[in-house]
């Protein structure tokens, strides 16, 4: 392991430890907010594998977040599945969805890829509304009381307890960061970057670019789906909004603000942007207008985002 990689690993572990320790000093309300931010941060981290590292901009990643939400929530609501089973099932279903959607969407490139992912996500969103008897439509469904606590490995996990939810979120975030770290530091990281930088050249160096993109897409969609499943389970509510376009755009916004192509960027972006959205929505109902302006400003003047800029200027070893 090189010195840079070691430094990067230590930094990421330190951030995770810090997040764990924060629960002992912050208010209950802050614990609740930060839990939400971390889950959205996982979602954006999944998005970032595809966008930041591989250079593919999907405008429909909410379909995977939504797939996770519903594949976890519906079996719990309708069939009384246990929470751990529903969670694993949701991850598996997100994986399947990502493979299928990837095979279709990756036949296109650039603008067409953006539009196609956007359209497929809209189709998913509309399907949720269409089957509103089962899905609860835009009103959504509240998970039954029985699913708010479960036994796991001899422990009783109470999901109504804020600290429990917080620690589950930290754990899932840690898994996401560690898995991404290993992936990005390894040969796939090099390959993803090569594709982002120069796809034609990469193919002429003997790489099967399409397979590599599908792999990135699948990892990305599965992580996004896991975030969705966690959201449904932790907060006990599923609704069509989670599969809507604003969630796709938010993943992009978080990633751009925090720094595309950095592992902690999406989390940082999600923390800052969620705070901003919460503040804005207190003063105006037109906060989407401001998000749009922020998106434009970031793209024009700050394309590397916070951590991306720090990486470029000061910390080249940052993963």
């Amino acid at each position: 392991m090189g010195a840079g990689m070691m430094k990067s690993l230590i930094l990421h572990l330190a951030v995770l430890v810090l997040l764990f320790l924060l629960q002992f000093v912050i208010s209950d309300y802050a614990i609740l907010t930060l839990t939400r931010m971390m889950v959205l941060g996982i979602f954006a981290s999944g998005f970032n594998i595809l966008f930041g590292y591989t250079g593919l901009l999907s405008l429909g990643h909410a379909m995977f977040f939504g797939a996770g939400v519903y594949a976890a929530g519906l079996p719990i609501y309708h069939f009384g599945w246990s929470v751990p089973l529903a969670f694993v099932f949701a991850i598996f279903m997100s994986f399947v969805a990502a493979v299928i959607i990837g095979v279709i969407a990756l036949r296109t490139v650039r603008d067409s890829f953006m539009i196609l992912t956007l359209m497929l996500a809209q189709a998913g969103y509309l399907a949720i509304l269409y089957f509103n008897r089962e899905t609860g439509g835009s009103e959504g469904l509240t998970m039954p009381q029985a699913s708010r606590s479960f036994d796991f490995l001899g422990l009783t996990i109470d999901l109504t307890d804020a600290a429990t939810r917080y620690n589950i979120a930290v754990l899932l975030l840690a898994i996401t960061i560690v898995v991404s770290f290993i992936l990005i530091q390894g040969r796939y990281g090099r390959l993803f970057n090569a594709i982002r930088e120069n796809e034609a050249r990469t193919e002429m160096l003997g790489y099967n670019v399409l397979t590599a993109k599908l792999f990135s897409f699948t990892v990305s969609g599965t992580i996004a789906g896991m975030a969705g499943a966690a959201y449904a389970i932790l907060f006990g509510y599923i609704g069509a909004t989670f599969a809507g376009i604003q969630y796709s755009i938010e993943a992009l916004l978080f990633t751009l603000l925090g720094g595309a192509g950095t592992l902690l960027g999406p989390l940082l972006g999600s923390i800052l942007m969620t705070t901003l959205i919460d503040r804005l929505s207190e003063v105006t109902s037109a906060y989407f207008l401001f998000l749009g302006l922020i998106l434009i400003a970031l793209t024009l003047w700050f394309p590397k985002g916070l951590l991306g800029t720090i990486k470029e200027k000061w910390l080249p070893w940052l993963t």
Binding site: R187, E197, M204, Y207
Partner: protein, 247 residues
């Protein structure tokens, strides 16, 4: 397997609408050759080698490499079988360090041959390649910041890192200074000890220095083929390409 031809094309065609860029080429290349392809602009040279490397799909005809019909194989699979292509217009990873450019190629070769792809091994092999093309001192520089001649060398280095059977060089000396050209010729001679080389080249001095045989393309067809002396003496070639003196 002694009678397997290294590379062979049969009636190879590539038509873009009404334009017959390559129009029925029967071509053979023996292992270990340095072969030059020359011809006037628009003769179909680049298209022809694109058909060999798989960047462009053939309209008709066949490409056979080491006894295998590769006509319908995608480019990356041909690379894995040993056909490396270096681009006419320098096509490198401009934002990456020089060594990373080569490392990407090294990783491709190692993982395709089922060897270990540890970071240390990839780096060591990439360093060897950089030493061969004389770019060691620029290893950590951003590739896009290199001088043009050095970028051309890096392009060749990326091809070399694949340890190809066949290295296709598309106008490699274009834009190089005289001293760079002569260094480049030495490098190609050295590479040729382990690989077969197919070279598209406009600079006739380079062609005459390097090539064992020359193929002349004109209007998508082979006009002539032979040793440098034969080609120089060939009347049809002089008419089409070299320009005949009014003696």
């Amino acid at each position: 397997m002694a009678d397997v031809t290294f590379l062979k094309t049969k009636d190879l065609k590539c038509h873009f609408g009404g334009i017959k860029a390559v129009d029925g080429v029967d071509f053979t290349l023996e292992k270990g050759e340095i072969r030059a392809i020359i011809g006037p602009n628009g003769a179909g040279k680049s298209t022809f080698v694109s058909l060999l490397s798989g960047r462009t799909e053939a309209t008709a005809g066949e490409v056979e490499f080491l006894g295998e019909n590769v006509t319908r194989l995608p480019a990356y699979k041909r690379v894995r079988r040993g056909i490396a292509y270096t681009f006419q217009i320098t096509n490198i990873y401009k934002d990456f360090p020089v060594i990373e450019n080569v490392a990407i190629a090294v990783q491709s070769r190692l993982s395709n041959s089922g060897e270990k792809t540890g970071a240390g091994r990839i780096r060591a092999e990439a360093e060897k390649v950089l030493a061969r093309v004389g770019l060691s001192q620029f290893a950590e520089r951003k590739a896009g910041e290199l001088a043009y001649g050095h970028q051309r060398l890096l392009e060749v280095g990326m091809g070399l890192a694949l340890q190809p059977e066949l290295l296709i060089l598309d106008e490699p000396t274009q834009g190089l200074s005289d001293s760079e050209v002569s260094d480049f010729c030495d490098l190609v001679k050295e590479i040729a000890q382990n690989a077969t080389i197919l070279l598209i080249e406009h600079n006739m001095d380079v062609v005459m220095t390097l090539a064992g045989r020359i193929t002349v393309l004109n209007q998508g067809r082979i006009l002539a083929e032979g040793s440098p002396e034969d080609i120089r003496a060939n009347r049809a070639v002089q008419d089409a390409y070299l320009g005949r003196g009014d003696e």
